[in-house]
């Protein structure tokens, strides 16, 4: 990889955005994660924030100066280019996280099934059949935007967002699926709940998932949900 086909947007004095495309696309997103791994490995004092099709770099402009102490963007550009030209960094550990979901707790599961013309059981089967990729984390700490949703399950957001979606809600919004790490306002369709904690400030790292991780969902019942919730301390 190199910077040749990458558009660099100067966002702020301490921030550049590398844009790899303009679409939500598995291949573009994979390039973003690859670049984040290479730049992260070569330039550890640059903070990399991946999103669907672009990579935010936050740096200290005082570290990239000419002999007069002025910011020298070409030094930074060259350093990024040579990081990208280096050997691909294997994104180890290639973590696959399995998230247990009690689909019976999803308030909108029936609506999603009706919209898809499927039974609730088929919706669950299709939602659990796929290995997703964490395209990015945003909106709230630990909230994963997952790529890979079966297109038949895509459904627009609710016309009126809920003022509070319960913590652990597994949801569909358009072509995307994700999990609410905490109680938040939100407009996505709720198809289930996980008892697993996605963001915990006392853990290091605090987020169960990081950008680029693989995710699978596994269906559980109410009794299993309660047992895991009790162990995890997430029981309501």
């Amino acid at each position: 990889m190199s910077l040749t086909n990458v558009h660099i947007e100067t966002l702020a004095e301490d921030a550049w955005l590398l844009r790899f495309g303009n679409d939500i696309d598995v291949a573009i997103n994979a390039r973003v994660h690859g670049a984040a791994a290479q730049i992260g490995a070569a330039l550890s004092d640059i903070e990399c924030v991946p999103s669907y099709a672009s990579l935010l770099l936050r740096f200290d402009p005082r570290h990239w100066t000419d002999t007069q102490g002025r910011f020298a963007g070409h030094h930074l550009r060259d350093a990024i280019d040579s990081a990208l030209r280096g050997a691909a960094v294997s994104e180890t550990p290639m973590k696959e996280v399995v998230i247990p979901v009690w689909y019976g707790a999803g308030e909108d599961l029936g609506d999603v099934a009706a919209h898809a013309g499927l039974s609730a059981v088929e919706v669950i089967a299709r939602h659990t059949a796929v290995t997703y990729r964490v395209a990015m984390i945003g909106f709230a700490p630990g909230f994963p935007y997952l790529l890979g949703l079966d297109p038949t399950l895509a459904m627009p957001r609710r016309p009126t967002p809920r003022t509070s979606v319960p913590a652990g809600s597994v949801a569909i919004g358009g072509q995307q699926t994700g999990v609410y790490p905490q109680a938040l306002p939100g407009g996505w369709q709720l198809i289930g709940r996980t008892p697993v904690q996605l963001f915990d400030v006392s853990a290091e790292p605090p987020s169960l998932l990081k950008p680029g991780d693989r995710v699978r969902f596994r269906a559980i019942d109410e009794a299993q949900f309660d047992r895991i919730a009790t162990q995890a301390g997430t029981a309501a």
Binding site: E13, V49, A53, L56, R70, G138, P141
Partner: protein, 327 residues
Amino acid sequence: MTIELIKSGLLTSIQDAGRRGYASLGLGRAGAMDEPSRRLANALVGNAHDQAVMEITLAGPTLCFREAAVIAITGGIIEARANGQALPPWTTCFLPAGTILRMGGMRHGCRSYLSVRGGFGVAPVLGSRSTDLHARIGPCGGRALRAGDAIATGHAAACSWFPGGNEMKALGWGLDPQPWLDYAQAPLALLRGHHFDALDDASRQMLFSGRFVISRHSNRTGTRLEGTTLQLRHPLELISEASVPGTLQLPPSGQPILLLAEAPVTGGYPRIGQLAAVDLPRLAQRRPGDAVCFTETSMDEAMDRLRRRDDALERLLRRIGQRLESA
């Protein structure tokens, strides 16, 4: 030592330089909105620059100091009385044990910074003592301080500036807030954003000639601007991207929002501008109802002003240190 809150004030929170390194996990930096004022408050009491301070918004809290303390208040000029005696702003002050410090309204600016010698002894969360009120992460469970809270302070090394005693005392010198606090409310420097060219002709003009007013719905996540409505030539369908504080985004309402310390780390609205970083503290000192005008700047000019501001700040911090040592 602990400081007790008798009254919370409008919005009071503990803030340091911010929580770095968690944006890829969805958590922004938070931190003091007016960072130079935070650093100067620490310097005035002889603290290391990374100590947390109390950020006070528009109407101040009432605090009880059980033990003697050395404090300073910088940022917005707020009415502050220690057992009835007025405290000079931007000045190192000694408070005797048992002081009730009543802070009232803010005469200039929007946010004051109270430092205490020794710093605030609250436990860091993910490496920082900043409170992210929006994400609910930080000291006190990530919430604003409220009446009844008792905030621990760190160990205050002995200093020879004050002989002690039972009365409030202030050092005979303080800082001039003038260069740091933007009394004149001059136009703020704005860079063109990635989607500036998507604005219609009139809106491109209005962005740099119009007058905006800060909405009362503004907070630490963003300043909402009213008074002038902007429009795109045609709607843009954008996918979510990472964003940074200082970005001026345009939601469909046409009322721009300038993202601040607690803004979500990703967003999908068109980005029509970027406030020069050097002007972020100046914006942070404007209050709801205040006017905002933008003047166009270039990245070179913005970088140059930031560098000169940082150099001036470093010089002043060194001078404060020298004066305190010789006091």
